[in-house]
Symmetry: C2
Subunit: 314 residues, 2 copies
Amino acid sequence: MKKIAIGFDIGGTNLRGALVGEDGLIIRRHSILSEADKGIDFVVKNLAKLIKKTSVGGKIAGVGIGIPGIIDSQKGILTQAPNICNVDDYPLREVLMDKIGEEIPVFIENDANCAAIGEWWIGAGRDVKSLIILTLGTGVGGGMILDGKLWSGADGMAGEIGHITIYPDGAKCNCGNSGCLESYASAGAIRRMVKQGLETKLETIIRDKVRNISKERIPEIIREAAIEGDEFALWIWDEVGKALGIAIANLVNLLNVEMVVIGGGLSNAWELFAQRAKKEAKKRGLRAPIKRVKIMKTVLGDDAGILGAGYLVF
Amino acid sequence: MKKIAIGFDIGGTNLRGALVGEDGLIIRRHSILSEADKGIDFVVKNLAKLIKKTSVGGKIAGVGIGIPGIIDSQKGILTQAPNICNVDDYPLREVLMDKIGEEIPVFIENDANCAAIGEWWIGAGRDVKSLIILTLGTGVGGGMILDGKLWSGADGMAGEIGHITIYPDGAKCNCGNSGCLESYASAGAIRRMVKQGLETKLETIIRDKVRNISKERIPEIIREAAIEGDEFALWIWDEVGKALGIAIANLVNLLNVEMVVIGGGLSNAWELFAQRAKKEAKKRGLRAPIKRVKIMKTVLGDDAGILGAGYLVF
C-alpha cells in the first residue's frame, strides 16, 4: 500500500492542506481560514482541526508544513514569520505534535523551499538534479535544489532571491534596501509602477480599470490591459521581465543550475514577460551555462508548495 | 605515516606545485614557467616534469591540479581554459596519467574552487561548513562550499561571481555584459578607472606614479597612493568596496553562508576597501543572515589553491 502524507501550505489568509500520495498524486484537499490575525495559537488550532479533517479514514505517514518565514527545520522551530504572525522562535513542531498525538511525525519548512521541492519532485524539474524556483507573488520568494537536495542555508534562511539587488539606486524595498528584485517583479512592484504612472498625464486604459477595485486585483487588471495592447501595461511587464532576466543571469552565472522555474501569482502573466526575461538573461549570462539552463513556468502552480510539504514526510 | 599529495596551481605564466601533507602542511614547493603560450602540450610536459621533481624521495597518494577554466572534474576533462590555452574538451587527466604512469591518481578542478576548498579545509573557514571565496585578481573568480561540499554546478561552471551584474548600465565587461562585478573589483577594473580618471584634469599623485610602469603594477601603485592619502586613489578603493559589498549582500541573501573570504591579488589592499564593502553589504543584506556572516580576508593567500588542489587527493 502506498504511503500517504498531509501537505500544508500556510498563508496569511488560508490554510490549504491535502492528502498526498508518495506517487505525487493529491488524493483529497481542504482549505480553511488561517485566522493568523488572531495569533499563532489560532493558526495551530486550525492546523490541528484540518489535520483531523484531512486524515479521516486513512493512516498518515506524517505531516509536512510550508510556511512563509524563517524556519529551523532541524529543530522544527518557526524562527520568524512576519507575514503570518509575530512570533520569535516558536516551537511549532512540538506544539503541534502535542495537539495531534505524537505518533504522527511533523516536518516544517519554508514555503518557497517546499515549492522548490515540489517542482523538483513531481513538476517542471522532475528530470533534473538542480533547480531554482522564484515565486513572484505579493513579494518574491525563492528556493533551490542543488544536486538533488534542498539548500536552505546555514540557518535555513537561504533563497531570498527577492532581495538580490538589481538596481543599486532603484526603488525602495520593504526590506530597507533599494532596487531589490522584489521592488520590480512582484505584485507590490506592479502596484507601485501603476501608482507612479497614474500620477502623470500618461494615457492608458488602466486609469479607468483600476478605479474602485481592491489592490489585490491590480496585477490581473494589468495583465488584461496588456493583452488589449495598452502601452503602459506592456511597459510594466517589460520592466518585470527585465529585472527578472538580470536576476536569472546572476543565479545561473553563480550556481550553474539546470533549470529556473517561475511560479507565484504573477506567473499567470508569464507570456507577457517571459520573452523579455529570457532575452535579458541571455544577454547577461555566460554563454555555456545560460545556453543550457531551462527557464520555464511552474507546472504545479499553487500545488507546488503542498506537494513539496508532503514530500518532506517521504 | 601521513599521506602526501602534490597540489598544483596552473597559471598563464607559472606552474606552482607543492608537496602537501594530509595535515595541511606544505612540505616542499617548486615553481616553473608554464609555457602556456606554446600550447597545452607544453603545459602537460612541464607538469609531468614538475611532478617528478616534486615527488623525489617520497610516496605520493595522488596529484591535484587547479586550473583557471571550466573543468569536468568527474571525467578529468579541461572543457575550456581561455587564460591558459585554446583547448576544447582536452582529456587532461588521461594524458597526464599516461605521461607519469597510471599508478598515481590525478584530480583536476577549477582554480577558484580549489581556493575555496583550501580556505575551508585549513584556512579562514576551517570551523565552518559553508563559505564563498571571491578571488579579486586580473578578473574575479569564485568558489563555494555548501554543507561541507564543493558546489561546482551542474556542469562544473558554478562560482562565476565576477559576472554577477552589479550596475545594469555600468562599465562593459570582457564577457560582453555590462556592469559585472569584475568591471568594478578586479585589477582590470582598477586600470580602467585609472585610465578614465587620468583622461580628465583631476589632480592626483597617481599621474606621475603610473608613468612608465607595467600595467600589472598599477593596483599596487594605487594602493600606495591611497595610503599616502590621494583622493582619487581612495575613491577607486571605495568603488571596489561598494561593488564588492553589493555582491556580498546578494550572495548572503541568496545562499545564507557562514563566511565570505576575499582572496586574490587585490586582497593585499584589504584595509583600504574592507570597511566600505562591509558597510554596503550590511546596508543591503537581510538582517539575520548578514549579521551572522563573517566577511574576511584570505588566511592562506596564494597557497589556498595549491592546498585545495592537494585536498582533492585526500
